[in-house]
Subunit: 538 residues, 2 copies
């Protein structure tokens, strides 16, 4: 049983940029200066110097040298500061690279702690880069013994047991833990298991921000020695909390509902993708359907209505309902609106290739829309937001180089049924920090009408696909649970439908490989979470 | 020192399909029956049951169950056979999955050997799937002790030393080793180190075939106890050799030149991608330039001229030289040829968006060509072969949804200077097994003229990019050697050019994420070999 530290901790939940060492150092220095006088130690997240996850930048010697120079800079700075900092950064010796935590104080590196447990599953490839450290000793700091762990170290008993055996007074955990629904309760569950075993308190610091497909939700927290939650930062925003385990001076922000957290993650993922790639203007092909409407709402909430332009591209199959819904929704959102019909484009193209029919003709329309959007985007320096949802992408119900055109996708990891839920939720709730309007912004007709791609007369999605409730239920089994078709049958699904959906899922992998990146909102998104071959006899 | 076995081995260098368990079992059974009477043991490659590399199929319980059923089928078969088989397959116990080798004889599994060294670098992610085995004991088989290793086990001394200590008589190595230039000499070098240490002979069996971006070259071999090469299978084709270490009855096929091996790998990669996805017809946008000409040549050599259609899509900027070169080259290749001008399409589109200019206008032309090709492909059930080379792809010198349209790319991992070399080589040498004509098939003018995208008047590649010799030299440093820009300066390159190329390489990552898959022909191809973030401050 440890000796509860009187230390004043500051949790620094910041938003680093992968590879942006100078920017990240500036964020660290700015927090350090701000909280120096009130803190004993300021704790940052895992690999905060490089941003998590730096992927193959870690294989580049020059990149590692720059991180070393940045740490040197912090060490120099520390001689003028009162408090210490604990930061995540890579650490190399002659033969290996480690995922490490540096404790820096008073012109010196007091300790370098190596991560022991390296995740190499799901989205993680840490064994590609790092060597596992030996179990670390607690670090002596101002009369206390700090038990420093890095992310996965906390998910297993191994490191915590050793630190506890060696009389650590507190666990301090640096994390780069991406968002998934219910992830926070899983984190707290693991943290509590460590605390209950050791009888000492725990501090957990996570980064926030979007990085390509991943979103980090923050939600940094502290547990006292009994395992009670005594501090929890807000999700999805930068935050700093200074507190001590002896005083009742920490804030516990409530977590968002599951629906709002999905929405917040999508907003942050898009916003950071734009900001960190120096872009601000978004173009969306507005069809009058639910996917483009929700995408536009998220774009407006993330970037502001003035930065979002919705383009309605009418064809001969566009209904007046769709036209009206697109106009109405854009108006409610306050976004810019343009109508550029593709009717003449289709006719002109058909003059060159008069035999175009069937699926080729459907794709042609989607591709002329994609071409129109990309031309406008190139002309005005905007990014096209593509709007395919996970159900469509799973089945290949989309046109490569057509509606799949775009730089980013906020719906990529949301099933169609989730898209409906989020749209309904957004109409009744304005998310924290959203830049859009309050109230109904997606007209009810968009939510209630039958979905259609409008690429031929009278077409409905459900002519080609099973009803979305059933489709999503099958897809969730095949994807999220990785069940086989026969296991899905045991759940009572229709054999023909299961066979069809499994087949579509397999055959459309080649399209997914060429799809835009988009926010990961589940525990098994397409991409680095689910690595399946294109050529696949299974 | 071992006891040289009198056993008759058959090396079975076959072409399995990832996930195609039934097909793979049929290939195994067919080889077994054919060589049963002349063999003591028939040796297949690593994970031959599933094909290498099965990626996340290995996470699917149902998939593993099917591999187990397939092994059961082979065990039953073995009671009617005279010889044994040694095959690679996954093996699971209650808590773990192993990359394993099964020795099957006489109605029984004689042994299951687990892979110890799991590669988790480059294109490999084996620690994502497998648990490392403990060092295996030699397996008793017909009076000899077999030292069985799986691929990476042979690249390090650990396993071989143990097998040698335990008196193995021969090393038998099952491999799934993808092609790279000079890979075979590296394999033999590692094999020889094991043989020289142990003083026993070695047998190395690799698979052949294309699987998405990877190509396996086969080149299975044997070394006698002195380390001499006594057997080497042909590269890039299925082959079986039956031999004994006591007799002088093995064949040593010479290796191809480096240039031919690149060409052969590209041919096999394309051919297997088409065959294993049940496609046969290829469309190529023929510009009159070197990239489309070489792509067409490889396509004709791989699939036959009757399956290849070259489409020349003239714009206002197309020179008569380009038109003539495209016609002439297609004629020499014997492929189908169509001309579909895009001049009117561009004009018609400009009527809808009259402000389109500059880069947007250049991209528009490339995208109308992409649209034309995709429409034709959809209409006739063909696949578009996209033709961007590694230099272009590295710099983003290509149009997303334009010339980047396509299902596969044989030049994806070839620098422009390599493209010229291959074109020149192909004009003087007909590759083994190529279906195309002998003699000059790429007119000399295509090889000697200055490269141009012809998207504006008088445009030349070298207006935007450094000369290809210099560009490729810089790119090879940045990509293949992962050097930093400052290291490139130390080699004497121009600072401005290095800065520009590094910047282009970083900024075009988003395009590469949406590019078609294509044959890996280097030790650092874009994709799973080089995993860099899109949002990248480095």
């Amino acid at each position: 049983m440890g000796n509860t530290p009187t230390l004043r901790f500051t949790l620094a939940q910041i938003n680093p940029t992968v590879g942006g060492i100078d920017e990240n150092i500036n964020l660290i220095l700015s927090a350090w200066k701000k909280f120096d006088s009130v803190s004993d130690i300021i704790v940052f997240s895992e690999l905060v110097i490089t941003g998590y996850m730096p992927e193959d930048l870690l294989l580049n010697d020059g990149f590692i040298s720059i991180t070393e120079a940045a740490i040197e800079k912090l060490v120099k700075q520390s001689s003028t500061m009162k408090s210490a900092i604990l930061i995540g950064a890579p650490n190399r010796d002659k033969t290996a690279l480690y995922n490490a935590a540096y404790l820096i104080e008073n012109g010196k590196i007091l300790s370098i702690t190596h991560k022991v447990e390296l995740p190499n599953y799901g989205v993680f490839d840490e064994k590609r880069y790092f060597t596992s450290g030996t179990r670390p000793e607690p670090v002596d700091f101002r009369d206390y013994k700090l038990g420093i762990m890095i992310c996965e170290d906390m998910w297993l008993p191994n490191v915590a047991d050793y630190l506890s055996l060696k009389s650590a007074d507190v666990f301090i955990v640096l994390n780069g833990s991406p968002f998934e629904p219910h992830k926070q309760s899983i984190r707290i569950q693991h943290a509590r298991a460590r605390v209950e075993q050791a009888g000492i308190p725990l501090l957990y610091v996570n980064q926030i921000g979007g990085q390509d497909d991943l979103v980090y939700d923050g939600a940094s927290f502290a547990l006292n020695a009994k395992g009670d939650l005594i501090l929890q930062c807000e999700e999805f925003i930068e935050e700093f909390q200074t507190f001590s385990f002896l005083k009742d001076d920490a804030k516990i922000y409530l977590q968002h509902s599951e629906t709002e957290s999905l929405y917040q993650a999508a907003m942050l993922g898009l916003c950071d993708y734009m900001r960190k790639t120096n872009q601000s203007k978004i173009l969306i092909g507005m069809s009058g359907g639910i996917d483009s409407a929700l995408s536009a709402a998220i774009a407006v909430d993330a970037m502001g209505a003035e930065n979002v332009t919705c383009i309605m591209m009418e064809s001969e199959f566009t209904s007046s309902d769709s036209l009206n819904d697109a106009r109405d929704c854009t108006k409610k959102l306050g976004a810019n609106f343009e109508e550029i019909p593709i009717i003449a484009m289709v006719e002109n193209f058909m003059a060159a290739l008069p035999k175009t029919s069937g699926l080729a003709h459907e794709n042609l329309q989607a591709r002329l829309r994609g071409l129109t959007l990309m031309t406008l985007a190139n002309q005005c320096g905007a990014m096209v937001l593509t709007t395919g949802n996970k159900s469509e992408i799973a089945c290949g119900y989309s046109t490569l180089y057509g509606d799949m055109c775009g730089g980013f996708n906020v719906l990529k990891d949301l099933y169609k049924t989730q898209v409906y839920n989020l749209a309904t939720w957004r109409n009744s709730s304005k998310p924290v920090n959203a830049l859009g309007h309050d109230g109904v912004i997606i007209n009810q007709n968009i939510i209630t009408k039958a979905p259609t791609a409008e690429l031929r007369a009278g077409q409905k999605d459900q002519d080609s696909l099973p009803a979305y409730d059933e489709l999503d239920s099958i897809l969730m089994g095949l994807i999220e649970e990785d069940l086989s078709p026969s296991q899905m049958l045991a759940r009572g699904h229709n054999p023909e439908i299961v066979a069809k959906v499994s087949r579509l899922l397999k055959l459309s992998e080649y399209k997914r490989r060429q799809s835009a990146t988009g926010v990961r909102l589940s525990s098994r998104a397409f991409g680095r979470d689910r690595r399946v071959p294109i050529v696949n006899g299974f």
